[in-house]
C-alpha cells in the first residue's frame, strides 16, 4: 500500500480541482443536452461523484477525516435520492409511456 500512495505524492491540489471541475461540468452539460430522464439522473450522479472526489482530496490535504465522513453521508444521500428518483421515473413512465422530459411540460410557462 505504501508504494500506491507514493503515486499521489506530488500531484498538485490544483489538478484535483481541475479534474473535478471538468467532471462536474460534464454532468451539467449532460443535464442540459439530454432528454431521457434516466440519463439526466446519471449526469447528476456524475456531479455528486466529482464533489466527493474533491472533498476527499481536500480531506487528505488538510489531514482531517471529517471530509471523508461527509463523502460517506453524501453517498447515503445519493442512494436515497436515486431510489426516490427512479420510483418517480417509473411512475412517469406508467402514466406517459416514456421517460422523455420534454413531454412533461404542463408546468412550463
Amino acid at each position: 500500500m505504501e508504494n500506491v500512495t507514493q503515486a499521489i505524492q506530488g500531484v498538485p491540489l490544483n489538478h484535483y480541482i481541475l479534474l473535478c471541475t471538468i467532471i462536474f461540468s460534464i454532468g451539467v452539460i449532460g443535464v442540459l443536452i439530454r432528454r431521457n430522464a434516466i440519463v439526466i439522473f446519471m449526469s447528476i450522479e456524475l456531479m455528486l461523484n466529482a464533489v466527493n472526489l474533491l472533498l476527499t482530496a481536500f480531506s487528505v490535504q488538510h489531514n482531517d477525516p471529517s471530509g471523508q465522513v461527509f463523502v460517506f453521508f453524501i453517498m447515503a444521500l445519493a442512494a436515497a435520492e436515486v431510489a426516490v428518483g427512479l420510483a418517480i421515473i417509473v411512475m412517469i413512465f406508467r402514466n406517459t409511456n416514456s421517460t422523455d422530459v420534454n413531454i412533461l411540460n404542463k408546468l412550463k410557462w
Binding site: T5, I8, N14, T56, Q61, V84
Partner: protein
C-alpha cells in the same frame, strides 16, 4: 508507480464521463458510468481513502448502478424512442458548460492552492480512523441519515406501487 498514474486515471475518468453523456443508447450510458465510477475508486485508492474506495465500489457500482440498470431494463426503452434535443439547444448547453468550466477554473487559479498533495498520516482514510470520527463527532448525522434512508425506502415503495382502485 509514478505521478503519471494519476494523470492516466484522470484522463480515463474524463473520457468515460464524456461517453456517458454522449452515448446514444441509455444502457451503454449506464455501463460507461460504471467504468467512470471504477476510475473514481482508483482515485480514492491513490488518495489512500480505502474505506471510501470500498464503499464507492460496493454501494455505487454494486447497488446504485444495478438499480439504474434494472429500471432501464424494466422500462424497455428502445434506442430511437426518445429523440435528442435540437442541435441549437445542444450547442447552447455545451457552451454553457464550457463557460462553467472556465469560470470555476479561473476562480480556482485565484485560490493559489498549487502545493503538492502530501499524505501526512498514512491511516487517515482507514476504517478504524473514520469509524472513530463517525461515531463520536458525527453520531447525530449518522442516525439522521438512517432515518433518511428509511423514509426514502417508504417513499420509493409508495411512489412505485400501483394505485389500488377504491371500489365502494
Amino acid at each position: 508507480m509514478s505521478i503519471s498514474l494519476f494523470y492516466f486515471v484522470a484522463f480515463l475518468s474524463i473520457f468515460f464521463a464524456l461517453l456517458v453523456i454522449f452515448a446514444k443508447n441509455p444502457v451503454h450510458s449506464v455501463l460507461y458510468l460504471i467504468v467512470t465510477f471504477f476510475t473514481f475508486t482508483i482515485h480514492y485508492i491513490l488518495l489512500n481513502a480505502q474505506f471510501l474506495a470500498i464503499v464507492n465500489f460496493i454501494v455505487y457500482m454494486g447497488a446504485i448502478m444495478v438499480l439504474f440498470l434494472f429500471v432501464l431494463m424494466l422500462l424497455n426503452l428502445n434506442e430511437g424512442s426518445i429523440g435528442s434535443k435540437s442541435n441549437l439547444i445542444k450547442m447552447i448547453g455545451v457552451i454553457a458548460g464550457m463557460c462553467l468550466i472556465i469560470t470555476l477554473v479561473g476562480s480556482a487559479r485565484v485560490l493559489n492552492a498549487s502545493e503538492p498533495l502530501v499524505l501526512q498520516t498514512q491511516d487517515l482514510g482507514l476504517v478504524k480512523n473514520l469509524g472513530k470520527v463517525l461515531f463520536s463527532k458525527f453520531l447525530l448525522p449518522f442516525e439522521v441519515s438512517s432515518i433518511l434512508l428509511l423514509s426514502a425506502m417508504v417513499g420509493a415503495v409508495l411512489l412505485a406501487k400501483k394505485e389500488i382502485k377504491q371500489v365502494k
